[in-house]
Symmetry: C2
Subunit: 364 residues, 2 copies
C-alpha cells in the first residue's frame, strides 16, 4: 500500500490541537504505577484507534473461517465454558516515546507512559485453530475487530495478521478476562487477541472474525502502518516484538506542573521495571549525571513469568544536596542501550526514549 | 495567600512539554463513553495533582479531630462494618475546557473530557461528624489527603475544606466503593470524600484526617487555587458547584487523527448527556450550523438521581451530503448557555467550552 498522503510533522516542542485530542482520550500509565507488579485496572495504557465500539455480548460470536477444514463459530458462553489459560503480559504501544522524535510524526504523542502489565485469561488460539483445522496452503491468520474509522483517508475496520506459526504459539490467547474480571469495554470486550511479547498493535481488541488466508495480508495496519521506514516510498520492516526498555519509578515528591522531583538528602531506594519481548534482559544500569556515567542496578528474578516486566532496584546515597538528572537503561545481549537521540522513523515507532528525571536533593 | 509566582501562559494552539506530561498521565473520558449511564471503570476522568500515593489499607485509619466533643478514629474495617449509602454522581474537573482559553493558563490542558459518572458507596460524613460531636464555634471541616507535592514552589499535602453545613449534607460520603468494588488506588483508596454536585477538587482522595476548625481554612487549594480571578492580586470567588454542561456522543465513525466524523446520508439519532451541580436543567439545544441556529432536543428524566447526568436525544435527518458542524448547549433557568468565547479566568476554571463536532455526511 502506498502512502495515502504526504507526511507532515509537528513543530519541535509544540503540540497541535489534534495531538492534544489524542493525548486527552488515550490513557498513559502514570509512572508511579511502576510500583505495582500488575497495573491496577484503569491505569494500564490504552490506545484506541477509532472509538471504543458498543458491543452487545449476547448475540456476539467469533467466527474462524477461510483456509480451514471446517469453519468454527463460538459464542462468549462457548469460550467461557472452555478451560482458560492465564498469562501475565507487559504490553507497550509501538508508538511509546514518539513525542521525543524530531521531526515529530503527527500521531498519539506518547512520552514514556504507554505501557502496563495485566493478567489475561482466555482460550489458547491454537486450540481454536486446531478445532477448525488448517487447510492446505494456510499462511497467515487475520484478526478483525469491531472498531471502524478512517486513517489518512482510508476507511477501514481494524485488522492485523500473524503468521500461522506465530498464531499457534501456546501463550497466544483469545482473552475474555483481564485481572480476574471480564474485559472492560475499552480493553476489547467481549474478547480480544493477546500476543505476549508483541507491541500493542498486534493485540486486536473487540474481535469479530478470524480468517485463515493463503496470501500475505496487506491491510492498512499491516502494510502501511506499523512499519519502520524513513520515507513513504519504502516498504519498511514490520513492527513485531517489543524492544528492551527500562523505566524508573520517579523518587520523592513531584512538582505538579513540571513533574520534577524533590527528595531529602539521605539514602533512597530507587526502583523500576524492565522488559523485552525479544532478547533476554542482561541487566539495568542507572545514572545520576544525565547519562555521563552508569552503575549497575540489582535485577530481580522474572517472577511474573517470561512475558512480563521484571523489577530492579538501586540504593542511591546522594553525597550532596543539589540537582541531579537520573536515568536508567536496559542491557541485552551484553550490550547496553545507548540513550540519547533515538532512532528516527516515519511512524515514530519502537523508540524506547531514555527517561530523564530531574531531582532536587534538599538539605532539609 | 498571595500568588507564589507571576502567571505565564501557553502560546495559542501550541502545547508545551509540561502540558503534554500532564495530558498523558491524567485520564480523560473518551467521548464515546457518553453512551454509558455509569462510566466503565477505567474511563472515568482522573486528575492527580501529585502522585497516586502508595497506601497500605491495613494500618490505615481516618481521624476526625479538632473542634469536636470527642475525636474519632476509624479503620477501614470500621467503615465497612457500617451501613453504606449509595449515590450516583457525575463529577467534572473544574479545569475542564481550559485548553480552549486564550491566553491559555499553563496546567492540565483539558478539552471536553474531564468528566465521568460513578456509583459511590460509603458512610455519610454527617454520621461521623455526629459521632465526634461538633464543639462550640465549629465553622469548617478540613479534609487532608495522603498525596504530597509542590505547586508554584509551595510544598504541601492536598487539603480542602467545606463549611460544616455543606459537609453535613446527607449525600456527602466517605466513599470506600466505586461501581460495586473497593476504590482503586487512583480513585483514592482506601477512602475518599465524595461531594455530589461539586467540581472534582472538593472530592479529596486518599483521606487521612478530617479536622473541624473554628476559622476559615486558608490552605493553598482553597485560598489560591480553585478561585475565579482575573489577576493574581484578587481574592476571587471560590469554585464550588458544577455549572450546567451538555456534551454529545460524536456520531458516525472518526478519523483517527482529526477526530472529525463521517456519517452516511439518512436519519441519525444524536444522543448525549447534560448535567449541573447547581441550577436545574431546563433543556438541551442542538445546532448543525456551528451555533447559528438551535433546535430543542428531547431531555430524558433524571433516572440516575439528582446528582448524575441526564441523557438527551435528537433525531437528525440531514437534507444533503456535505460538511456540518454540530454543537449542543444546556439550558438552565429559562436562559441558554451562549457557546462562543468562554469566560476567561486566571486558573482556567468553570469553562464548559462548547463542543464543536465536524461531521461529513456522505452520499454512499
Amino acid at each position: 500500500m502506498k502512502a495515502p498522503v504526504a507526511p507532515t510533522f509537528g513543530e519541535p516542542g509544540r503540540l497541535t490541537i489534534e495531538e492534544l485530542q489524542l493525548a486527552t482520550r488515550n490513557h498513559g500509565m502514570p509512572l508511579e504505577a511502576l510500583r505495582y507488579p500488575i497495573t491496577p485496572t484503569g491505569l494500564h495504557y490504552l490506545l484506541t484507534h477509532y472509538d471504543v465500539p458498543a458491543v452487545d455480548p449476547e448475540p456476539w460470536t467469533l467466527e474462524i473461517s477461510g483456509a480451514v477444514v471446517e469453519p468454527v463459530r463460538l459464542s462468549l458462553a462457548d469460550l467461557r465454558a472452555r478451560s482458560l489459560s492465564r498469562v501475565t503480559v507487559t504490553m507497550e504501544c509501538a508508538g511509546n516515546g514518539r513525542a521525543f522524535l524530531d521531526p515529530r510524526p503527527l500521531s498519539q504523542p506518547w512520552l514514556h507512559e504507554a505501557v502496563g502489565t495485566a493478567e489475561w485469561a482466555g482460550v489458547p488460539l491454537s486450540e481454536l485453530l486446531d478445532a477448525a483445522g488448517m487447510a492446505a496452503g494456510a499462511l497467515e491468520v487475520v484478526f478483525r475487530g469491531l472498531d471502524r474509522g478512517l486513517e489518512n483517508g482510508v476507511e477501514q475496520t481494524y485488522e492485523r495478521s500473524l503468521t500461522v506459526g506465530e498464531a499457534r504459539r501456546p501463550e497466544v490467547l483469545i482473552a475474555i478476562d483481564m485481572n480476574g474480571n471480564p474485559l472492560l469495554p475499552q480493553h476489547g470486550a467481549p474478547a480480544r487477541l493477546v500476543v505476549p511479547g508483541w507491541y500493542g498493535m498486534a493485540n486486536v481488541k473487540w474481535l469479530s472474525a478470524i480468517s485463515v488466508v493463503r496470501e500475505p495480508f496487506t491491510g492498512y495496519q499491516q502494510s502501511w502502518s506499523y512499519r519502520l521506514r524513513q520515507d513513504p516510498s519504502e516498504t519498511g520492516a514490520p513492527l513485531s516484538r517489543i524492544a528492551a526498555h527500562a523505566l524508573m519509578l520517579p523518587p520523592g515528591i513531584p512538582d505538579f506542573f513540571t513533574r520534577d522531583r524533590v527528595v531529602a538528602l539521605g539514602p533512597h531506594r530507587l526502583t523500576g521495571r524492565v522488559w523485552s519481548g525479544d532478547q533476554p534482559i542482561d541487566g539495568v544500569d542507572v545514572s545520576f549525571d544525565d547519562g555521563d556515567t552508569w552503575v549497575e542496578a540489582t535485577l530481580d528474578p522474572a517472577d511474573l513469568g517470561p512475558w512480563a516486566w521484571r523489577s530492579w532496584a538501586f540504593d542511591w546515597i546522594p553525597s550532596r544536596a543539589g540537582r541531579y538528572v537520573l536515568a536508567c537503561r536496559a542491557r541485552v545481549d551484553q550490550s547496553a542501550e545507548t540513550p540519547g537521540r533515538p532512532a528516527w522513523n516515519l511512524g515514530g515507532y519502537a523508540n524506547p526514549a531514555p527517561q530523564r528525571i530531574v531531582v532536587t536533593v534538599t538539605d532539609g
